[in-house]
Amino acid sequence: MKLLTKISLVGCLLFGANVVIADEFTQETVDEAHAEFMSVVEKGRGLFVDPNLGSNGVVCAQCHPNGANTHPETYPKFQKQLGKVAPLWEMVNWCIRNPLEGMELDADDPDMAAIQAYIHYERRGVALAPGKK
């Protein structure tokens, strides 16, 4: 059995995948990237429930449990009230400014990246639909 397994494994590698495997990412590399991503997702979750993100103690998750109703798959999209096509981070800032009565984050602020990572992670598996109302 062991020999058969080995033969079939080699068979897969040589013929099954039919691709060059030399430059494929190792599992270690994949795991490392995932761990880095998840640490930022967790930071984003922390910000989502952080009463100090704004000025009045209101947190993102009060209106958006599990990041729901944020529709990250629909951005960028036209926001009538902004009069333009806006990326997700502009709407995050809208919420920080209004219900949270806080100071906007820069587009490239690591906290903004973390908030978006969390929102996207909770929405994983949903097909992209840019511009969808």
């Binding site: 209101v58 449990p65 729901a68 219900p99 909770e122």
Partner: protein, 351 residues
């Protein structure tokens, strides 16, 4: 009916500048003099910033509901509050909420919500408002109020402080939370309370969480729901009204009709908009419209209820949307939306 239309007109004028949430329920009887209405306000989540500063957005939602409820014509027989008057349940928050509520003209009954409870296990709430579960009779209808948001003693006692416990339970999506339940003590009390009540007497039950299992992740759920439904099973007419979900929901299970209240504070997404978990939302429910984030009162509201012959018609007062009306449909024997279900008007899709 005419006078209720008058009310809506007045509310419309009031609502021109901003939006106010409210609902009314009516129960009917064979004797029309026994018909009556009550107002139903819920989930204001009054939130203290510090000292005498409170989140204005949530204050305004409750203030608007109170102002509109005072305009009701005919005047409702009483007002129900569906729970979560506070956000983290401090004395300051509960007192501030009750101060806003004190402008209401009429007797008010209160339901306990988890945001009122888990800091001090309802101590301050009870000091101000009395029993956490009770019943009363009004014009031939038996009303029952349950505290449906308690949970196991093990979970309740495992935290280092009330603040920590409340911090966890106040997060709707916090995975460290615990399922709500009515529990053995109140179920035994309920059976005893209903013992002498005739099957034909209309029963109205108020709870904070739905006495049905809709979505576990956000506690749109009561763990012993089936046992309570079984206790209520022998009555001809049962209506359950609940808060907690911050959205329009209605359902029918056997003889029991379920209706939710809008929040005065903020709306919640429907469970189907969280892609990572399954839900058991009632097929009967036509959802409310999606909230416009640019309008702070949108998708909040309050309701008034007509009670007639043990049936309930429920009017949702929505600041930035057409009002919604649920009425008992004699032909189908279930509560239906008078526009969206009966006239087949298309409702907005949530995703």
């Amino acid at each position: 009916m005419t006078s209720r239309r008058n009310f809506i007109k007045k509310a419309g004028v009031l609502a021109a500048g901003s939006a106010l949430p409210l609902s009314v329920v009516e129960l009917s009887h064979a004797n029309t003099e026994d018909n009556f209405t009550f107002a139903f306000i819920s989930d204001s989540h009054i939130q203290q910033i510090k000292g005498n500063q409170f989140v204005q957005n949530w204050d305004r939602g409750l203030q608007r509901a109170v102002a509109e409820a005072n305009l009701l014509d005919p005047k409702p027989d009483f007002i129900m509050y569906g729970g979560d008057i506070a956000q983290i349940g401090t004395a300051a928050e509960i007192d501030h909420g009750l101060e806003i509520m004190s402008a209401l003209r009429g007797k008010t009954h209160y339901v306990m919500g988890e945001h009122d409870y888990y800091l001090d296990l309802g101590e301050h709430w009870s000091k101000r408002l009395g029993d956490q579960y009770y019943s009363f009779d009004h014009k031939g209808v038996h009303f029952v109020v349950l505290n449906s948001i308690v949970t196991t003693e093990e979970w309740t006692n495992k935290w280092s402080s009330g603040e920590e416990r409340m911090g966890v339970m106040a997060g709707l999506d916090d995975p460290r939370g615990s399922p709500f339940m009515v529990g053995d003590v109140q179920r035994a009390w309920l059976e005893k309370d209903l013992k002498a009540i005739d099957d034909a007497t209309p029963i109205v039950v108020f709870s904070h969480s739905p006495l049905q299992k809709l979505f576990a992740n956000w506690n749109f759920w009561t763990d012993d729901a089936e046992q309570i439904q079984a206790i209520l099973g022998r009555f001809d007419n049962v209506n359950v009204f609940y808060g907690h979900v911050h959205q329009i929901q209605y359902n029918q299970i056997g003889n029991i009709k379920f209706h939710s209240a809008m929040a005065t504070a903020w709306p919640w997404p429907y469970p189907n908009s969280y892609a990572q978990a399954t839900n058991y939302m009632p097929k009967l429910t036509v959802p409310m419209n999606r909230a416009d984030p640019f309008f702070e009162r949108d998708a909040t509201g309050w309701q008034f209820i007509d009670i007639h012959s043990g049936k309930a018609d429920l009017q949702y007062i929505l600041p930035d949307n057409d009002d919604r009306k649920l009425a008992y449909n004699k032909d189908t024997g279930r509560p239906e939306d008078t526009q969206y279900q009966v006239k087949q008007k298309a409702s907005q899709k949530h995703y």
